[in-house]
């Protein structure tokens, strides 16, 4: 149950993210729960003494506190009592609605090109940590992504699994693709490691 203590805790998270992430959340909620769902979220934010992070005033390209990103996912999960699967699906959906992603479409030529530019891609979205692609093996149909210095909140692990899979899906033609988080700082690892494989 999300409460002010938790909010106070997450508000300590440093770093910033693009407003586009809130827009993709809004889009997803509108798809699944409609305007009413969005109103519920706004009410809850208000009840918790928070500003409207789903406001139209939020610009896709604007920089906003990273902890708001965590707050958005937690309040959505809490309000609608969603499990990890739904958060994963939010990650899947996000790139499809993101203006920032659209600005980067020119890199979506191949999986190599897409993830060779992963660092640049990350920088477009976040002001902290970095994203690396230590292994891009088209032959083996395997991709390894590594997110370093990003121990923010476990809910983002779920969200990013969906997000990275969705990005990979935009450049790999396959009906069967899996993603696993093989390493995670919350499990004592030095970084997040996501392994994407396809057939």
């Amino acid at each position: 149950m999300l409460n002010k203590n938790i909010i106070e805790e997450i508000s300590k998270i440093k770093g910033e993210t693009r407003g586009a992430v809130f827009h993709t959340d809004v889009q997803y909620i509108l798809d699944k729960k409609g305007e009413k769902g969005l109103e519920e979220l706004r009410k809850k934010l208000k009840d918790l003494g928070q500003g409207d992070i789903y406001s139209k005033e939020i610009n896709s390209t604007g920089w906003y506190p990273l902890w708001w990103r965590v707050l958005s996912l937690l309040i959505i999960q809490d309000t609608f009592n969603w499990d990890e699967k739904e958060i994963f699906n939010m990650g899947i959906s996000a790139p499809k609605h993101s203006f920032i992603v659209k600005t980067l479409l020119r890199y979506f030529i191949s999986i190599e090109k897409t993830f060779e530019e992963s660092a640049k891609y990350w920088e477009k979205h976040y002001t902290i940590s970095k994203l690396e692609a230590p292994e891009i093996n088209v032959k083996e149909k395997r991709l390894v992504l590594r997110l370093v210095d990003f121990k923010i909140h476990p809910i983002l692990c779920v969200y990013f699994r969906g997000y990275f899979k969705s990005i990979a899906g935009l450049v790999v033609k396959t009906d069967k693709m899996t993603i696993k988080e093989t390493k995670c700082p919350f499990s004592g690892d030095a970084y997040h490691e996501f392994v994407i494989e396809w057939e």
């Binding site: 798809d31 610009n59 896709s60 390209t61 604007g62 959906s93 790139p95 499809k96 609605h97 203006f99 659209k102 600005t103 479409l105 020119r106 979506f108 030529i109 191949s110 969705s166 899906g169 935009l170 450049v171 790999v172 033609k173």
Partner: protein, 520 residues
Amino acid sequence: MAEEKEVFISRQIKEDLENLERYVEEFSKFLPLPVYTINPTGIIVDTNKAANDLTGYNEEVIIGKEIEFLFENKKLVREYLNQALENKIIKNREVILISYNKKRISVNISISIRKDDKDNIIGCFLAISDITKIKGFQEGLERKVEERTNDLEKAKTALTNMLEDTQEAKEKIEEEQNKTRAVLTSITDGLIVFDKDKRIALVNPDAEKKLKIKESDVLNKKIEEILNFPAINKLYEAIGQKIEWTGQKYELILEKPIRRFFDIFITPIASKEDVIGMVIIIHDITRDKEISRMKTEFVSIAAHQLRTPLSAVKWSLHMILDGDVGVISSEQVDFLQKAYQSNERMILLINDLLNISRIEEGRFIYSKKECSLEKIIKEIIDLSTGLSKERKIKLIFKKPEKQLPKIKIDKEKIQVVVQNLIDNGIRYNKIGGNVTISLKHDKLFIYVTIEDTGIGISDLQHNRIFDKFFRADNAVKADAEGTGLGLFISKNIIEAHEGKISFKSKKNKGTIFTFSLPIN
């Protein structure tokens, strides 16, 4: 200072980006053309509102799908995509799009490749035009064209059939015409066929021969235009200078090269109720005339030759019966009287035959003199008294109230007529019957009526009563001695006087004969 400038530039870039985002979003929402952004592998990476509206797939579903997912013929669309990625122009290619709710939509697709600043292909835009309405219109048009074509095909077939039928009918008509012509040309009577405008349409060989003309010279001409042919001129005169159906028989006589006689008939040619032409039939009666003449001549000669010995027999028998050559027994008298009567009948027959010969030769009426018809009738009544008494018939003469005018007649021949009619009234009467003779006149004619109370004439035989040698069935039974020539001769005599003879009769009730003679 440099830091402030960097912050300023960064803010400017941010604002530009925000403006760009708004612009792209608004443009995407406004753009009526459905557009998909595709990466080089053929995966949809972006879409716009019009595309979502058309296909029913939202971004959530469609982004990440291969572009051919949207279309029925996936192979073809992939081929177009590959061609576009090879820099070929793909514009308005017709394909079928399958929408989210499985609706088949006819669309045209155009593909335009995207390149980065280094001229590398980074994907393409695929624009879709919904041509359902156009297609529907086109299909409707095609359907209409097809229907019209079918109609035209049917019409063509019908026309072809009609043409074939017409051709067949034409051939049949030609065949019929040829048959008709063959029949007409082989007819031994001359024929001149006129169309409804009275132009010559056919002249058969017999007519050509008789009239000394050639069909080719007179075809399509009116008879008035060819009067320069002498025979045609005579024909034209003979038919009263008009080609009309009067039911009349005309006589044509052509003198050259030999005198020939023709009966001319004019008959209409009718098709259903319409008269479509006329035909002049020229029937040669020269031979009939000659035979008739020879027959009449033969009868005349034979009758003359027979009359002389019959007269000699008559007078010889008369002398014997009168006892001039000695006394004869009553039995001999009886035989001789029968012979005398038979001889008398023979003389009467010979006289009738001679009269007929004269009638047919046109020399029967010799001399007309002014006579009193009343006196003639009285004389005949007096002569018939013996016979009437023998047959117990009462002869009644109703004299005219006013005196009759005298008329010019051949007395001898009119006597024959009156004698014939009174004789018939007596012979074909019943015992105790009457024969009433009456006279009257008007300004133009004297009318003589002989009325009997006898056996009458059957209705069926009325039209033959004036024919030569005709005797009614009941007349033959009543009197075996008649020749059947009396009424024929009488009719000819009256008509030769320009009078008329007629009768009214009812079987077993009696007969009334009336003849008229002109006063002047």
